[in-house]
């Protein structure tokens, strides 16, 4: 069984704003040639390249990342494989899905609202399931391009067990000065939809559902 792709590396790449196509390419190669050390080398180059670009524009952020990247490299050295035995995604059922827009940041009179997908997962199989990786890909309107994403790991799925209120909040959203309700009522507001994918270990991602994000305010 091949090793699990390094989740920290994926998380760092996503949060650093790396091109989604680049992350997809890395994943595509990893699927056919799983090597955690290769993935980490690629991710570190991507983080350094991205930071070099930002350095000229956002010095305070560059200073923050100058601390974050070496820390990530140190963690990567200690990162160990944690892949479990192959498990069947068909043992997972998505229940009670809800969605909306949550206020994720407020500062200097500006508010950021981001789409949220909340769901309950049930293990309908008769065996305990290991950590389930969830990846939510948010898109605006009818655009095919990814707008935002969220990654979560659901654990503790014993036979017949459920995990409720799993929330996936997009890292991208809208920023405005009108307040959350005013922003949702704005005529230029574009609705979002979300594709939900899941997998165990280094298996291929399986689409678990596709949902429209409801234009209502929810808690993050």
């Amino acid at each position: 069984m091949s090793a699990l792709p390094p989740r920290l590396a994926v998380w760092l790449l996503t949060r650093s704003g790396a091109d989604a196509a680049l992350i997809g390419d890395l994943q595509e190669i990893f699927e056919s040639r799983p090597s955690r050390s290769w993935y980490w080398r690629q991710a570190i180059v991507a983080l350094l390249v991205g930071e070099r670009r930002r350095l000229r524009r956002h010095t305070p952020r560059a200073i923050r990342m100058a601390v974050t990247i070496p820390a990530a490299i140190v963690i990567a050295i200690y990162a160990t494989a944690c892949g479990g035995p192959a498990q069947d995604i068909s043992g997972i059922r998505v229940e009670t899905v809800s969605s909306g827009w949550a206020t994720v940041a407020q500062a200097s009179g500006e508010t950021k609202v981001a789409p949220v997908l909340a769901l309950t997962l049930k293990n309908v199989s008769d065996e305990a399931l290991a950590a389930l990786q969830l990846n939510a890909v948010f898109r605006r309107g009818d655009e095919s391009q990814e707008w935002g994403n969220a990654f979560r790991i659901a654990r503790g799925l014993g036979p017949g067990a459920s995990i409720s209120d799993i929330r996936l909040v997009s890292h991208r959203g809208y920023v405005g000065t009108e307040g959350p309700a005013g922003m949702l009522a704005n005529s230029r507001f574009v609705d979002a939809r979300v594709d939900l994918f899941g997998r165990f270990g280094s298996m291929r991602w399986t689409k678990l559902g596709e949902y429209r994000v409801s234009r209502t305010l929810v808690t993050p």
């Binding site: 989604a20 994943q27 595509e28 890909v137 391009q145």
Partner: protein
Amino acid sequence: MAERLGQVELMALLAVMRLGDEAYGVSIAKDIEATGSQTVPLASLYLALDRLEEKGLVCSALGQPTAARGGRAKRHFRITADGLAAVKEARKALTRMWAAIPSLRGDEA
């Protein structure tokens, strides 16, 4: 006046030309590795491709997202007319430079 091209940019442009409609990050990197005998980190390749796009030498479009890529789409690249002109100019310049070195003319290198 044609754009000046870096080495990775030129290799990426040539790979995009060779691959046609199949040119995206993974296939371009593999093509450079196979024909140019060089391994380029994907992030460096994207940096070069982004620069080429900013210069108007390639254009890109997103394909359909697939589950195998975690719901992420491929970014397909295509060379533009300016890109083609830049490649031709680079070839001319390199040919002139090689020709000016007698001991490396032809296949003697």
